[in-house]
Symmetry: C2
Subunit: 235 residues, 2 copies
DNA sequence: CACTAGTCGATTGTCGACAATAGTCCAAGA
DNA sequence: TCTTGGACTATTGTCGACAATCGACTAGTG
């Protein structure tokens, strides 16, 4: 009985994720989650890719404990799925679920969040949102789609945070990465990067005006323009 | 410096959860999660209640590892919230978030899930759903609101599972416990327990008929009757 | 040749101990 | 008296080792 010819039970696993600075102790769970999320939303890890805890732990220079917690976090965000005693793999999203599940939920959540945020908007928040819009403009000018998507996400995240509704925020944060992962898988993330900043200026204007029907309409229009076609945007 | 008079840094923590049979090894995470979820949705643990890992581990007769994982799971379901190095507490839901966030999402999810489930419905599934309806009738006759709510949840869970849409199911399962926890906090869970089984018979009939507009209307009507008033049902 | 039971390797699940952190209390000094 | 700095405690975060489980492979049996 030759040991050499024995095939491994499970396929190869895990592309290389190392090569970044070492992770400081005591915040490893979050850093691991961030790196894995980035690897998935950027397309470095594709759906079906097997992830094993030991391999990830070695590549990231930690023990299995933070990796396990990070995988649980990503499972919550719908980016991976794990089977007891058998491992974890990257989960894809179908175009149909994007269209019929995730985008409608995002619209519903953000309509409510924008309404609540409008009630609590203050000068500091406006300044923060304007800074994200400036980032978008800069990223679009530089042709940096990744930075553009980051600023896009941070703008929406800031608004939902501002709404002060904990469940709304928690659910939004579990929905958004899936949408981003889906659209990032295609090459060009934004059909027209130059208009993104302007669209968000309109959103901010509607937020400041505070007219509820108009605000809701603007939010829905914004999200639908982003996600109507198979290739929209990341945030 | 007397040690006796030193006050604990954090308030007392954790009502008693023990008193059930010991947990078999190798599925502890899930059992712990189930017990905690039950304690929260039944109102045994109230919002603001502090939960510490060691106390829970001792009461449930395990180590901290499964407790940690269970708490992460409950955090995903929005039942608890945890702060780094400071602990975990039971999270409440406002009536406003129930009305504007959770119920709309449930309607959207279930409308889609019922449509997809109608396409895949077979004899076995129908039999399973009918068995849940029988449980509802029996529970209502026995005046057992808890069993009624269980059967209610299992009916809907079975339909969403049958839809075969992984993200839809995952999100539904993270939404549903919050709704149940909210409504269970009041005394009477169902305004009129006797009609629940009949309502689900109508849902199943619509599912079998498979007419999409009528099915969607029935689903929305069903959920709204349940959750329109501050005291509706659990599933 | 099909079938069943047993073995083996890969992987996750669990445990106990230690490290790191945040908030509290107290004492010393202005 | 008010402030400020330093211990102290409760708690979570991380680690390495071991146990349990699953699927695949193998050998034996009809």
């Amino acid at each position: 009985m030759s040991v050499d010819k024995v095939q491994p039970c499970y396929p190869a696993a895990v592309s290389d994720l190392s090569g970044l600075p070492p992770i400081p102790v005591a915040s490893r769970r979050d850093v691991v989650a961030d790196r894995l999320r980035e690897a998935i939303t950027s397309g470095q890890l594709l759906p079906g890719q097997k992830l094993t805890e030991v391999a990830l732990a070695e590549q990231l220079g930690t023990s299995r404990a933070p990796v396990r917690e990070a995988l649980r976090q990503l499972e919550q965000e719908g980016l991976v799925v794990s089977y007891p005693y058998r491992g974890t793999e990257v989960l894809g999203v179908s175009q149909e679920e994007i269209e019929h599940v995730l985008v409608p939920i995002r619209i519903s959540l953000e309509q409510y969040a924008f309404r609540k945020a409008a009630e609590r908007l203050d000068a500091d928040s406006v300044a923060e949102l304007e800074s994200f819009i400036a980032m978008m403009a800069a990223a679009a000018a530089a042709g940096d789609d990744s930075a553009l998507a980051d600023a896009d996400v941070r703008f929406h995240d800031a608004v939902v945070s501002l709404s002060g509704q904990p469940h709304c925020l928690q659910i939004w944060r579990s929905i958004q990465p899936r949408v981003r992962a889906y659209f990032r898988r295609d090459a060009g993330h934004y059909a027209d990067a130059s208009v993104v900043a302007e669209q968000h200026r309109r959103l901010l204007a509607a937020l400041r005006a505070g007219d509820e029907p108009e605000l809701e309409a603007e939010v829905e229009r914004h999200i639908r323009t982003h996600f109507a076609e198979p290739r929209g945007g990341g945030g």
